[in-house]
């Protein structure tokens, strides 16, 4: 026999139960009923099917306290709302006798249950209303003795008992309602917790750090994806494993001992205050980890949650920083050594290189003086050239020494009266070259912050240059003043109306030994502007120039602490 052969309609109608099938609509239209139900309610199928429930079964109009329809409707609505069965309290719900038996209502007590029939998509297809006729039970609960009392007394007692049963029933109903609400609240809370748990476990699973939880015995009870990735396992593979499989062989015993110690006095240990350990991957390779631990209290005692950072990269970076520092330290040492060497070299140059020059010059002069009679004009001219060359070399050595000194010496910044400094240098120049007529205009009130000695060297070089290159001018003019750039930074300038130079060569100007003029035109070593630039740079400033052939030259420079007037 297969299901297909079952006559469900027959089975339903003959079922020994009082069942009513309702449409889940506003009227609760009756779709079918069992024969037992029809018998119990004095109805016929054809009379009730496709009619509204409360149309077929109205309240007893003579019973003004009747609440049957109201309670039933409320129960059915609850079924609709909750899509769950609803058990009602015992109801007094009188049924209409058929007119053939005299009409009117017959008193009945019912214990109804309403159940939804859900479609696969979850919506309510039908409601099954099942009732049990408990009239006899209600009646039968009257005590035996009472049944022998006079009938009016029995009737009164009967009524009292009925009221009591109904009252109790209603109380039960209310209690049931209450329970249902509590149940619903609990269900809602369970659902909420499930959601929260899902959320938490999702977070745990996808956390960017490795997380492993072990029980008291050190067995993994949880490992997230990242923990698996760190160690080359799937999280499932780690479950139930002793945590020591993730520790290098040699350290396993010690680790197990430490773990036991930790379990006996668990405390939170944050990242960074913990040990740096080695982790062992599934393939046996090691990697450095940093681990923070926190005890978790569970029903099975303390568990321990460990958060694991793979610090390979950090280690590498730290190592790189250490190496860079090492390099830097070595370079510093080398630089210091080079500086000391340079210092010794400068001293040597200053002292030893000048001594032979002095001999050459001195004995050439001695020749000229002591053997003047034996020397012809050519010999005297040769000796004069020897002397000129030695003296030029002397100046060269001095200039080089100055350049080196300017680079090496410590800066002692102070407030400088720049105008007065320029004024005093101009005075020196006038004194050394009394024949020259040079008009020097110095802007009054110029202030600077810098190393006084170095600034004097720089400004002396610039003014000497201006002095030198204005020589061919009948009216030589030199200007010293304050310069303010568009960005508000200010500096100084030294301007002359001398022979100037071609700007195409401006980039060569500040290199040592670079000269734009022959020594015949203008003497010089080509070190002066290199020295000036070195000084300006050591003050955190820069120097640049504007010039044109035969149209004078201007030198602009800034210092870190700008001039203010």
């Amino acid at each position: 026999m297969t299901h297909g052969d079952l006559d469900f309609e027959r089975l339903f109608r003959d079922a020994p139960a009082l069942l009513l099938v309702l449409q889940a609509d506003a009227q609760f239209t009756i779709l079918d009923a069992t024969d037992a139900y029809l018998r119990a309610t004095f109805t016929e199928r054809t009379r009730i099917v496709n009619r509204g429930l409360f149309d077929v079964f109205p309240d007893n109009p003579d019973d003004h306290s009747a609440t049957g329809t109201r309670n039933l409707r409320a129960s059915l609505q609850r079924v609709m709302a909750r899509r769950a069965p609803d058990t009602m309290a015992v109801q007094k719900y009188d049924v209409r006798r058929p007119d053939s038996t005299g009409g009117g209502f017959e008193e009945r007590f019912w214990s109804p249950v309403n159940s939804p029939v859900l479609a696969s998509d979850g919506h309510i297809r039908y409601i099954i209303h099942r009732v049990e006729d408990v009239t006899d039970y209600v009646r039968g609960s009257l005590p035996e003795a009472v049944q022998h009392e006079p009938s009016d007394a029995v009737e009164r007692r009967n009524q009292a008992l009925e009221r009591e049963i109904l009252q109790r029933s209603r109380e039960l109903d209310a209690l049931n309602r209450n329970l249902q609400q509590i149940n619903e609240a609990l269900n809602a809370e369970i659902a909420e917790r499930k959601r929260a748990q899902n959320w938490l476990s999702e977070l745990l699973r996808s956390a960017p750090d490795g997380i492993i939880i072990v029980d008291r015995e050190g067995r993994v009870v949880l490992a997230n994806d990242q923990a698996g990735l760190h160690f080359g396992y799937t999280p499932e593979e780690l479950m139930g494993q002793p945590i020591e499989v993730l520790v290098p062989d040699k350290q396993r015993r010690v680790h197990a001992k430490h773990r036991a110690g930790y379990i006996s006095t668990p405390r939170r240990r944050n990242m960074g205050e913990g040990l740096e350990l080695l982790g062992q991957r599934k393939d046996g390779s090691f990697f450095p980890v940093e681990i923070s631990l926190s005890p978790i209290e569970t029903a099975e005692g303390f568990w321990v949650a460990g958060i694991i950072h793979d610090i390979t990269q950090r280690k590498q970076e730290t190592e790189q920083i250490r190496r860079l520092n090492e390099d830097l330290r070595r370079h510093t040492v080398e630089l210091e050594a080079a500086n000391r060497e340079l210092e010794a070299f400068s001293y040597s140059v200053s002292h030893d290189l000048r001594a032979p020059l002095r001999s050459i010059d001195g004995f050439s002069q001695a020749l000229l003086e002591d053997y003047a009679a034996q020397l012809d004009q050519t010999a005297r001219d040769h000796l004069a050239r020897v002397r000129a060359a030695t003296q030029r070399m002397g100046v060269l050595i001095d200039d080089l020494l100055e350049l080196s000194r300017v680079t090496r010496s410590e800066l002692h910044p102070e407030a400088i009266d720049f105008s007065a400094l320029a004024e005093s240098i101009a005075d020196e120049l006038r004194h050394t070259h009394p024949a020259r007529q040079v008009k020097v205009d110095i802007e009054p009130g110029l202030q600077a912050t810098g190393d006084g000695r170095l600034l004097r060297i720089a400004l002396t070089n610039l003014l000497s240059n201006a002095w030198k290159f204005t020589e061919p001018r009948p009216i030589a003019r030199i200007e010293v003043g304050r310069y303010v750039a568009e960005d508000g930074r200010s500096g100084f300038f030294v301007r002359d109306n001398g022979v100037g130079f071609n700007m195409a060569y401006a980039h060569k100007l500040f290199g040592a030994f670079q000269r734009l003029h022959t020594a015949n035109e203008f003497p010089g070593t080509g070190i002066g502007l290199a020295t000036v630039q070195r000084i300006v740079q050591r003050h955190g400033g820069r120097i640049w120039t504007e010039a044109a052939v035969d149209a004078g030259a201007s030198f602009f420079f800034t210092l870190r602490s700008e001039a203010s007037s």
């Binding site: 400068s346 001293y347 200053s350 002292h351 030893d352 000048r354 001594a355 032979p356 020059l357 002095r358 001999s359 010059d361 001195g362 004995f363 050439s364 002069q365 001695a366 002397r387 030695t390 003296q391 070399m393 002397g394 001095d398 020494l401 000194r405 010496s409």
Partner: protein
């Protein structure tokens, strides 16, 4: 000009010759004692070693001291001169090629009376020596019997 002694402490024979030439060209005819290193200079001043038996009271009117010297260098010589009671007031002029700041500072700190850098140009050198001789041998007065010497 009475015959005051000049002590020239100089290891470079060229510089020695040029200094002597500059002195003579400046008509300074004083006796010049040449010490060719620091030890020799100190031996002369304290009448010991090669100069034992010399009257130590016969002090030079001025000592021209080079800094870079074999064995004991110029600054050390200066330090010993200044720490000995007999010589601590002796006029000492540093006459050197060096223009290093450190040498200048150390020279004066140790009690040099003057610091002169030898110019490359012989004419300038002669002029420097002439002025030096004029000042220390003619113009400058030194105590005959330094108070410290009696101790």
């Amino acid at each position: 000009m009475e015959n005051k002694i000049i002590l020239l402490v100089e290891d470079n024979p060229d510089d020695e010759a040029l200094t002597l030439r500059a002195l003579s060209r400046s008509n300074i005819a004083n006796t010049v004692v040449v010490a060719r290193d620091g030890v020799e200079a100190l031996d002369y001043l304290f009448a010991r070693g090669a100069h034992a038996g010399r009257d130590p009271e016969d002090k030079p009117a001025v000592t021209l001291l080079d800094l870079k010297l074999p064995r004991v260098d110029g600054l050390e010589v200066l330090a010993q001169i200044r720490s000995a009671p007999a010589t601590r007031l002796l006029p000492v002029v540093i006459l050197t090629s060096s223009r290093e700041e450190q040498d200048l500072i150390n020279g004066y700190r140790l009690g040099a009376n003057s610091y002169i850098r030898k110019p490359v140009d012989f004419a300038q050198f002669t002029e420097a020596v002439r002025q030096l001789g004029l000042y220390w041998l003619v113009l400058n007065e030194t105590p005959r019997d330094p108070p410290g010497a009696a101790r």
